[in-house]
């Protein structure tokens, strides 16, 4: 999954679902700190306040003499600290997940299977979020000791408590965050894993800041509708991930193969880049560039020795990680230049290939 999609996921789904609950924890922490300092001055009792104080946002009227600008800074500093703490812990976790995924990865095939599993997991989270009967109970609850640890941070009086609370939220991931963790696990490297989680947290920041600052009340009012929106985003993300895994496996259930599986017309095969030599061999040139293989469906003859030339032209994306399950080929292509693959004598049929994540794909039609 590309980072822009992760950013949008954070922006749309993570920002809403995490903000609604974690924003509430942060608001409670700041409110408690404000009131504790007021108690120290002998003005207000800590316990017994209305919960409405929490729901109204961070600002508490404990310093009426200060200007609105100072109050804004007072409110944004804890939000900034919280997000910074959260960014650090999630980035570290993302790097670890990416590293683990790479270390245990045996082959492109197992990677694709892991991606299928991640896709199914995300779909299940989406169905649980939408409270679809039968899936409502699909929740992953962290151990009680982790919850106690996070609660301890939420009750701290330390100046940097918001940052510690943000850091600790890595222990209590919501469904969206767990889904992005699954993506980090299959991202292919520790760096990609770190980037995946970091970009997700950054994506959640704008809405979190807005909600944490002013509008928790509105969020609780809109909670049900937001939960539905989050569920739909999760379903879409899960199906996209699942389809990528199925494509990398060359499965007939992958979206691009479904039309063929169901007996519909497929895109016409293109023989324009195929050259036949006098000795009877054929060579096809497939251009590899950012986000595509061209032609996407090359037409080849059966029964003759065949060479595939993957011609990289400024290829910078995941299309460089070429996987052809039928030939057991897993190869990283250069950014520029030719990669020659001897395909032997082909049998009639179709041969699927894709990048290792299944996001970019192509087909050889042999007749």
């Amino acid at each position: 999954m590309n980072l822009m999609a992760i950013l949008l996921t954070g922006l749309l789904a993570g920002g809403v679902s995490c903000a609604a609950v974690q924003g509430g924890l942060l608001t409670g922490l700041v409110a408690r700190q404000h009131q504790a300092s007021a108690t120290a001055r002998g003005t207000v009792s800590v316990k017994g306040r209305s919960t409405g104080d929490r729901a109204a946002g961070l600002t508490l009227p404990d310093a009426p003499s200060r200007g609105a600008r100072n109050r804004l800074v007072d409110d944004l500093v804890p939000v900034g600290g919280f997000l910074a703490g959260k960014l650090v812990s999630h980035t570290i976790l993302g790097a670890m997940l990416g590293g683990i995924g790479t270390a245990v990865e045996l082959s492109a095939h197992s990677h694709a299977l892991a991606q299928v599993a991640a896709g199914i997991l995300i779909v299940l989270f989406g169905l649980a979020q939408l409270e679809v009967p039968g899936f409502k109970g699909f929740v992953i609850a962290p151990p009680a000791s982790w919850l106690r640890l996070v609660r301890g941070r939420a009750r701290s009086q330390a100046a940097f408590a918001p940052a510690l609370l943000g850091f600790a939220t890595v222990l209590i991931p919501c469904g969206v965050t767990l889904s992005v963790m699954a993506l980090a696990l299959t991202s292919g490297s520790w760096l990609n894993g770190a980037a995946t989680m970091a970009v997700f947290v950054i994506g959640t920041s704008p809405l979190f800041t807005l909600i944490g600052y002013a509008a928790l009340k509105a969020v609780t009012t809109w909670k049900d509708r937001l939960a539905v929106a989050t569920g739909i985003v999760l379903l879409a993300m899960g199906l996209y991930t699942l389809n990528g895994g199925l494509t990398a496996l060359g499965s007939p259930l992958a979206a691009k193969n479904l039309a063929v599986t169901l007996g519909f017309e497929q895109a016409p095969a293109d023989a324009s880049t195929v050259e036949s030599a006098p000795d009877g061999t054929q060579t096809v040139v497939i251009t590899v560039s950012s986000g595509y293989y061209s032609p996407s469906n090359a037409l080849l003859k059966a029964g003759v020795p065949t060479q595939l030339i993957f011609r990289s032209e400024d290829a910078r994306g995941c299309e460089r990680a070429l996987v052809i399950p039928a030939f057991d080929v897993e190869q990283i292509l250069p950014e520029n230049g030719d990669t020659v693959i001897d395909a032997g004598v082909l049998e009639p049929g179709t041969i699927e290939y894709s990048c290792s994540m299944g996001m970019v794909s192509g087909r050889l039609t042999v007749h």
């Binding site: 509430g24 924890l25 919960t51 609850a141 609660r151 919501c174």
Partner: protein, 74 residues
């Protein structure tokens, strides 16, 4: 001060943060000694002093946090 222990069902929770938010909201109420919310069981167990708190106040505090709840009759 004597505490009673009551169980409330809670609807609308999606993640562990929700359980923390509810526990925080309840333990900030006057008279509440302890609140333990379970995501899996979709309920919260509240220990409180009935002279200063009531089931109605518990349900109202949970509603304020954005969730619906009801006292389980025993």
């Amino acid at each position: 001060m004597s505490h009673i222990r009551q169980i409330f069902t809670v609807d609308g929770m999606h993640c562990a943060s929700c359980t923390l938010l509810i526990d925080e909201a309840l333990e900030d109420l006057d008279g509440v000694h302890r609140s333990t919310t379970s995501l899996r069981k979709r309920r919260t167990v509240v220990e409180y002093d009935p002279t200063t708190c009531s089931p109605h106040a518990v349900v109202a505090a949970i509603a304020e946090a954005g969730y619906t709840s009801a006292l389980v009759d025993r």
